[in-house]
């Protein structure tokens, strides 16, 4: 009986306690809530600061996202994206069954991979050279010169290439003819040179600029490590091999992953400018095909489907590279 009573009392006490706890919690929540509003209110100006950026992003960056639906619809100007009839995968089917689907996909992938393979290691080598040469006028001027091509526009770059590699009057051909006495060809127009020209002009333009990030990573290596290597009798090449390369490897991997994510898209401007009817067999890539279908032929459904497919491929590439990087080393983007 006694025991029962005390148990009941305990229970009642527990209830009361529970109730108290609940009330306290509610009060805390209420306070927290007013706290949030107060914290927002105090800094209301910061939200005003954000308005232009948020409005721009919502309209110009998020706005087109729902337009991706056009890939599954027969777009009609009058009815808009929402009102147009669904057609399922019709546009994708048209795209996949088109006569140039495989060649376009192959061109895009090959060009991207070649570009990636050429532009990734060279800036690393350059950064290591910069890091191992004494600071001075010579180094500074070389760096200045190496950054300069990065500021030339794509149009001018392609224009220069077109003039320099022109069949009869271009300097390149004249010099080659004088030096090696060989007949030269129309380097700019011939399809077999297109990829090399595209990739190596890109290397020329970005080599110096891309080395900056690695130089920054290299200057972060502690001098004590260098001293330790010197004490252990390592020569310069050994220091590069066992100290500098491992220290910048994570940066290289991050740059590789970032480049993989964007590479299917960035090529459009230059490829489009370099495209001629003669080299179409190798220069037709997904973005240029998309542009022609969409903007020139007004076939919006097909063009959106191509764009969707392109994004999907680059997304898959990104995930693959990221997974491989994670497996091989510790660094990855996500």
């Amino acid at each position: 009986m006694q025991a029962n009573y005390s148990a009941a009392e305990n229970k009642a006490g527990g209830l009361v306690q529970n109730e108290r706890k609940k009330k306290r919690k509610q009060a805390a929540m209420r306070q927290n809530k007013t706290g949030i509003w107060r914290r927002i209110g105090v800094n209301y100006e910061l939200y005003i600061f954000l308005i232009p950026a948020v409005v721009y992003t919502a309209i110009f960056l998020y706005g087109p996202m729902y337009g991706v639906l056009m890939a599954f619809k027969d777009y009609n100007m009058l009815e808009g994206v929402m009102g147009s009839p669904w057609v399922g995968l019709k546009h994708f089917q048209r795209f996949f069954q088109g006569y140039n689907f495989w060649s376009t996909l192959f061109n895009t992938l090959l060009l991207s991979l070649y570009y990636l393979a050429a532009t990734l290691p060279l800036p690393v080598i350059l950064a290591i050279i910069f890091n191992n040469v004494k600071n001075g006028m010579f180094k500074k001027s070389v760096q200045l010169a190496a950054y300069a091509p990065n500021f030339i526009s794509v149009v001018v770059l392609v224009g220069i290439m077109k003039i320099v590699f022109a069949p009869d009057t271009g300097v390149f051909n004249i010099v080659i003819e004088k030096l090696f006495h060989v007949e030269t060809a129309d380097v700019f127009g011939r399809p077999e040179y297109f990829r090399h020209l595209y990739v190596w002009s890109g290397v020329w333009q970005t080599l110096g600029w891309n080395s900056i990030i690695y130089v920054a990573a290299l200057t972060g290596i502690s001098p004590e490590l260098y001293e330790a290597f010197t004490v252990d009798g390592a020569n310069r090449l050994q220091k590069i091999r066992y100290l500098e390369l491992p220290s910048i490897l994570p940066t290289v991997v991050i740059v590789l992953i970032l480049n993989t994510g964007s590479i299917m898209n960035i090529g459009f401007e230059k490829v489009y400018l370099m495209q001629t009817p003669l080299n179409l067999s190798v220069s037709e890539t997904l973005p240029t095909y998309l542009y022609k279908m969409g903007v020139i032929n007004n076939d919006y459904g097909l063009a959106t489907a191509v764009g969707f497919f392109n994004s999907a491929v680059s997304c898959i590439l990104l995930v693959i590279v990221n997974t491989v990087a994670k497996k091989l080393g510790d660094s990855s983007l996500f």
């Binding site: 948020v54 110009f60 996202m65 337009g67 300069a148 500021f151 149009v155 009057t169 542009y291």
Partner: protein, 301 residues
Amino acid sequence: MRKMKKTHITETLDDRIFACVASFLMFLLLIICVYPLYFVVIASFSRPEMVSTGRVILFPRGFTTIGYDKIFQDSMIFRGFLNSAFYTVAGTLINLIVTLPAAYALSRKDLVGRNPIMIFFIVTMYFNGGMIPTYLLIQNLGLYNNPIVLLVCTALVVYNMIIARTFFENTIPYEMLEAAKIDGCSNTRFFCTIVLPLSKTMIAVIALYYGVQHWNSYMNALLYIDDQEWKPLQLILRELLISTNAMSSMLQGSESAEEQQNLTSIMQYGIIVVSTLPMMIVFPFVQKYFVKGVMIGAVKG
């Protein structure tokens, strides 16, 4: 003892060989990077026959400024130049007005909802609607063929905003804000009178990134501008340098075919120089800021 001495000697030898090879490679790089640009400049001052027969290698031959004379007489190029200057200056101003306040707001740790807002921006770095939906959006907004489109359609580059945010986070101490608040300073006033003057370097970096992008871009103009009057320089350059028909129609006149060919080539060199000159003049003075920008971005990376 003898052994130590020996290693000492081999080490210096190694270093010497390395220094030689490195210097040679750097010299090679210097030539590869500078020579094409140098060649365009000397070719623009040389007689076209000299250039096309390969006699212009190190110095201009048969000095002439006829190419430049023709270029400066041409109203289309001049118009393009003015348009580009306008787009660059006005566009960069808009960029800064949009980017800097937002970056500052996001750098404040006491901003409620900071992470969701940040994610809202970062998503757009990886996903976008694509060329065609954006193109239709511009048309629906009535911005097609309107010069304003080139100012607003790239009003914010999220990457630049992140650079600015990182800079604010690292250089504006929270204590400074507290002190200002105690003295009764509002957020707006704190931002305008304290934060901005302390961030001049970073603002220069961001402005230059945006400026270069505006000056060099042709893609948006290709998509959204159809009116000859509003075309930026890069688009006109594309017509003159890459599709040769425009060039020969520009030179229609009494000249013979060969003369026309010669004029075309010297003018092309000249146009490249004229369009690239603003960048090349500004670039050496500002390159250290660019380098700083890459470094701030890399810290975040």
